[in-house]
């Protein structure tokens, strides 16, 4: 099979969008940056720019002022244990209060892997040591000796659309922590293939108000353009009263990759269901 992409880098002609600006905050970009997580910020930026929405990226790290009101979408990625150790104090002691408030007030957050765990109440290592985390979400994580590594596919009801009738999301997970959700937090999706939160209850990620958490690297957003658009829409809706919905882009390249990955990851599943290429 081969294929020339007869598509065009989409450039919007939609004039109303040019009045919109999205401010993206990338928290600890120099430390929480493993597994291509910066791809999430690139995806948000590009999909805004292709629609003529102005984008500013704010890199906020240790010791920097953090004023959530200045941002419309806040991204927190994952890092190696060594780097997570470095940011922990700054995150918990300096920025923690504001992050908690912003989450409660419905600010749009995307948190991946380590960033997801850090929002929870605590992390208990496999040998019983307990580390207090932010407690912004009613979740906790228990360390495990065996890492959960591999391709991950799950379905999200809020992503059901014509182009993606299954609401399929693909990514790659690599974590040793098993995360459990409290009653106030909903799972992000239902696992089709992979471990997800804990490899036990069949769920992946977490949603609380406008905070979205996932174990999916890969990067999550470039691989799943509908997810990216969902977050951009949420942010615009919050900021602009006249915002209605996002203009559609030509996603054939993204959907081709998503479809191929999904087929590859789920080919041996009995409940594999057909997923038409848009």
């Amino acid at each position: 099979m081969d294929n020339t992409y007869n598509t065009y880098n989409t450039h919007s002609t939609h004039n109303t969008y040019s009045a919109y600006t999205i401010n993206i905050c990338y928290l600890y970009p120099d430390l929480l940056n493993s597994y291509g997580d910066r791809g999430n910020v690139i995806a948000l930026k590009k999909r805004c720019e292709w629609r003529n929405i102005q984008v500013n990226i704010h890199n906020i790290s240790i010791g920097d002022d953090f004023v959530p009101g200045n941002y419309d979408i806040i991204f927190l990625g994952g890092g190696q244990d060594y780097e997570q150790e470095i940011i922990k104090e700054d995150l918990l002691a300096c920025k923690g209060g504001q992050i908690k408030n912003a989450i409660e007030q419905g600010k749009v957050f995307l948190c991946i892997c380590g960033g997801y765990q850090l929002l929870g109440k605590y992390y208990r290592t496999w040998d019983g040591r307990e580390m207090g985390f932010l407690g912004a979400l009613d979740i906790y994580t228990i360390g495990h000796k065996k890492r959960m590594i591999g391709n991950l596919a799950f379905k999200c009801d809020f992503l059901l659309s014509e182009k993606n009738p299954g609401g399929i999301v693909v990514g790659f997970e690599n974590h040793s922590g098993k995360t459990y959700l409290g009653p106030g937090v909903k799972p992000l999706g239902k696992v089709i293939k992979g471990h997800g939160n804990n490899g036990e209850d069949g769920f992946e990620g977490a949603v609380y108000k406008n905070t979205y958490c996932s174990y999916s690297h890969g990067s999550l957003l470039p691989k799943n353009p509908m997810f990216t658009d969902h977050l951009i829409s949420l942010a615009l809706k919050q900021k602009y009263n006249d915002f209605d919905c996002l203009e559609k882009l030509d996603d054939s390249i993204e959907m081709n990759a998503l479809f191929k990955t999904y087929r590859k990851v789920c080919k041996n599943l009995r409940n594999f269901y057909s997923f038409p290429l848009a």
Binding site: M1, D2, N3, T4, Y5, N6, T7, Y8, N9, P29, D30, L31, N33, S34, Y35, G36, D37, R38, G39, I42, A43, K46, N59, Q80, D81, Y82, E83, E85, I86, I149, G150, N151, F172, N174, H217, G218, S219, P222, K223, I253, E254, N256, A257, K260, T261, K264
Partner: protein
């Protein structure tokens, strides 16, 4: 003579012959058979060899090739695991091939590339005379885990061989720590601050914070990634200085580099027979190993200008007046360096070129392709207009197409073709006269395309 010892050698040798006969490399399985029959086989076989071990994330193969050339210049016969089979089984196979049934050989030097995650285990079987560690970068985290665990594992291995001289990259704060944390004798190599200072300051750095006290490093100069003249202002951990130093870069062109070196106090001008900055590091590592081995400066310098690249490492194939360059990519830092090379090559040229990205996600490539998003593809932006077609292929080719799209590359110029043969034919046809077709494969894709190129252009077998 122990029966099992002889049996192990005979069985493994038979396996080599059989596997080569059916046109299979047979670089790993024979060693496995030998170790199963006689677990002490590697220890016994290697005891009569002077072993040079090369480990680290990037540059193992090229550094080995530089050292191999030095051995040749000095008339020293040697064995090497050239095929890239750098785990315990592959290294055992290398010895099995070299010895007779009694376990003896007419050469007494072994040049061995060792996988950085396997080094700690391999080292229990043999005692290197010199151990070269090239660098540590984040690499295939699903396979190796965090870069710090790889570093710790190599350190544990080094502590098992206190008599081995170390050759270490002084510009890499992770690698240089091995000298500080072990009692071994060390020869350091690196760049002098005046030789190269990159202005590119990447947020996406593999080791921006002090290994010992977690404060951010200051840099006197940056070469690339986290390599450079690092210093921690908090605890004082700093670049240790170097015995083999690149003091100036006079020319970086498509085929080679011309540099000024300080070899243990002697200044020399020399040509390095492979292009790109990262190969200067590999040459320096080779030189420092030569110094540790006590080779003459003449033989060291001569080797730099004459060594042959390993397969798929900047390998150049000529087809009439056009050339193909196969450049292995396996992690963000390596990929970024390759992009710098292509950028440097085509910045002033008016010629257009083709490029192919062959991205696989098999076990040896790393199953996780997120690393493509850590690569700064955007820096090619300056020369996008010179790219005729960007081919994407391999098991994750479609993901590479997405990466290119989000780097603002014109999607009309992206072509997804699964058949490597067709890519080669098509791309060569549209490559202009005297132009280059760059092939950038991940490890297993490189083995596949190398096989096709070998048959098409009559190249060497990969184990040769």
């Amino acid at each position: 003579m122990k029966f099992r010892f002889v049996l192990a050698i005979i069985a493994a040798k038979a396996a080599i012959i059989f596997l080569r006969m059916i046109n299979y490399g047979g670089t790993s399985l024979p060693g496995k058979i030998a170790l199963l029959i006689y677990p002490g086989i590697l220890k016994e076989l290697s005891s009569s060899f002077k072993v040079i071990a090369i480990t680290g994330t990037n540059g193992k193969t090229t550094t080995s090739r530089v050292i191999a050339q030095m051995l040749k210049e000095n008339g020293i016969g040697y064995i090497a695991n050239k095929s890239g089979a750098n785990l315990l089984n592959g290294i055992t196979t290398t010895f099995i091939e070299a010895v007779n049934i009694k376990g003896t050989s007419n050469v007494s030097t072994a040049l061995l590339e060792m996988d950085e995650a396997a080094f700690n285990k391999i080292i229990e079987h043999l005692e290197p005379h010199v151990t070269v560690v090239t660098n540590f970068f984040r690499d295939q985290l699903d396979r190796y885990g965090e870069v710090y665990s790889t570093l710790n594992s190599v350190l544990t291995g080094i502590r098992k061989t206190p008599g081995s001289a170390l050759v270490l990259n002084a510009d890499d704060s992770l690698c240089a720590s091995l000298g500080k944390d072990s009692g071994n004798k060390v020869v350091y190599y690196g760049f002098s601050p005046s030789a190269w200072n990159s202005t590119e300051n990447t947020l996406n750095n593999d080791a921006a914070f002090c290994l010992y006290c977690k404060a951010p490093y200051d840099y006197e100069n940056r070469v690339y990634g986290h390599l450079g003249g690092f210093i921690c202002r908090d605890c004082g951990y700093r670049h240790p200085g170097s015995t083999v130093t690149c003091t100036g870069i006079e020319e970086l062109n498509a085929n080679h580099s011309r540099v000024k070196l300080d070899l243990d106090g002697t200044t020399v001008d020399t040509v390095i027979n492979l292009p790109a900055i990262y190969n200067i590091y590999n040459a320096l590592a080779g030189c420092a190993c030569g110094i540790a081995m006590g080779f003459s400066h003449d033989s060291i310098i001569k080797a730099l200008s004459e060594f042959e690249p390993g397969f798929g490492r900047m390998e150049k194939i000529k087809k009439d007046d056009k050339s193909i360059r196969v450049i292995l990519i396996k992690n963000p830092t390596g990929f970024n360096q390759v992009l710098d090379y292509i950028l440097n090559e085509n910045n002033d040229e008016n010629k257009s070129f083709n490029i192919a990205f062959l991205i696989n996600d098999n076990a040896a490539d790393g199953r996780d392709i997120s690393w493509l998003w850590d690569v700064n593809i955007e820096k090619l932006g300056k020369i996008y207009d010179k790219i005729i077609t960007a081919y994407v292929s391999g098991t994750r080719g479609p993901d590479m197409a997405v990466r290119l799209k989000y780097a603002d590359f014109d999607t009309k110029k992206i072509k997804h073709v699964e058949d490597y043969n067709r890519i080669i034919n098509e791309a060569l046809e549209t490559t202009p006269g005297n132009g280059t077709f760059y092939i950038l494969p991940t490890y297993t894709a490189m083995l596949d395309i190398r096989y096709i190129l070998k048959n098409k252009f009559k190249l060497k077998e990969f184990w040769e």
